[in-house]
């Protein structure tokens, strides 16, 4: 079974860390792309250790390369032939995505209003609509006050709104990181809402393309 950690561009050296189950990391070339993989005995489950190890390897790859597309954990390949066929099919998309994330890191944002969710299970349809509209209105305010100032400093963004909460990611060029951090510190101090910015991350949220 083959685990893929990511697609890399100009990897200086394979990181010294071991892969899942302490297997050595290997560099594989397919269709002009470099992938970092490791081989393991087939298992059916992802453990907490495997998850942290995968993250650690991806982090190391980011440090040691010009660009990395982190692979999602949990999709393993049976053998080299299967890996090669899949990567060959996706090569144009992967090459583009690798180009998009070059020189960038990712930051995350979670925002939760302190007042909590409104009761949308209200008695009547009218009450439900009022509650839902209020929630949407609060989400719009959060997007304008928190997300937009950060989005202006990012090459690409993702934004999910759910139950009055925001979950966003930002692809930030290395030269804009200092300014992004300053903006993030301001956003975190916003009243009436708990905001946490995390990062820099490898560009997990933009690995499928940043457009």
């Amino acid at each position: 079974m083959i685990h893929v950690y990511g697609v890399v561009d100009r990897l200086a050296d394979l990181p010294e860390v071991a892969g899942l189950d302490d297997a050595p990391l290997e560099l594989v070339h397919v269709a002009g792309l470099d992938l970092v993989v490791s081989k393991a005995e087939p298992t059916a489950e992802i453990s907490r250790e495997a998850l942290l190890r995968h993250a650690e390897v991806v982090e190391e790859l980011m440090q040691a390369s010009d660009a990395v597309l982190p692979a999602q954990l949990g999709r393993a390949f049976r053998d080299d032939a299967e890996l090669e066929e899949t990567v060959r099919e996706q090569a144009p998309k992967l090459t583009r995505a690798l180009q998009d994330v070059r020189g960038c890191v990712e930051f995350g944002l979670r925002a939760i209003p302190d007042e909590g969710p409104q009761d949308v299970e209200a008695a009547s349809g009218v009450e439900y609509m009022h509650a839902r509209l209020g929630e949407m209105h609060r989400e719009d305010s959060l997007v304008a006050d928190l997300h937009e100032p950060l989005a202006r400093l990012a090459r690409a963004t993702t934004l999910h709104r759910r139950g009055g909460e925001l979950n966003a990611a930002y692809l930030v060029a290395a030269e804009d990181v200092a300014e992004f951090r300053r903006a993030a510190a301001q956003v975190e101090a916003a009243p009436g809402v708990t905001v946490v910015c995390t990062g820099p991350w490898p560009p997990y949220s933009f690995a499928e393309g940043a457009r």
Binding site: M1, I2, V4, G6, V7, P42, T43, A44, E45, I46, S47, R48, L51, H54, A55, V58, L69, P70, A71, Q72, L73, G74, R75, A76, F77, R78, E82, L83, T86, V87, Q90, L94, A97, G108, R110, I112, G116, E165, A169, T194, V196, T198, W201, Y204, S205, A207, E208
Partner: protein, 70 residues
């Protein structure tokens, strides 16, 4: 929010964000073998639970620190 609470929250959210990224984001290079998540589910506690547990955790840390100081 107190400084210690803030640090703890940052730490917990970072863990949550890490799990979310590794399992749900990243490029999907679909192999035939799909692995399921075992004890990792435990990490998926809602943020709301996190927020309310910050105070408890901070208290526990203080107790541990006090014990270590003895």
């Amino acid at each position: 929010m107190k400084n210690g609470d803030r640090q703890l929250l940052q730490h917990e959210v970072t863990l949550l964000e890490l799990v979310d990224r590794v399992l749900n984001k990243g490029v999907v290079l679909s192999g035939d073998i799909t692995l399921s998540v075992a004890d990792v589910d435990l990490v998926y506690v809602g943020l709301r639970v996190l927020l309310s547990s910050v105070a408890t955790l901070e208290q526990q840390q203080a107790e541990i620190a006090a014990e270590a100081g003895r």
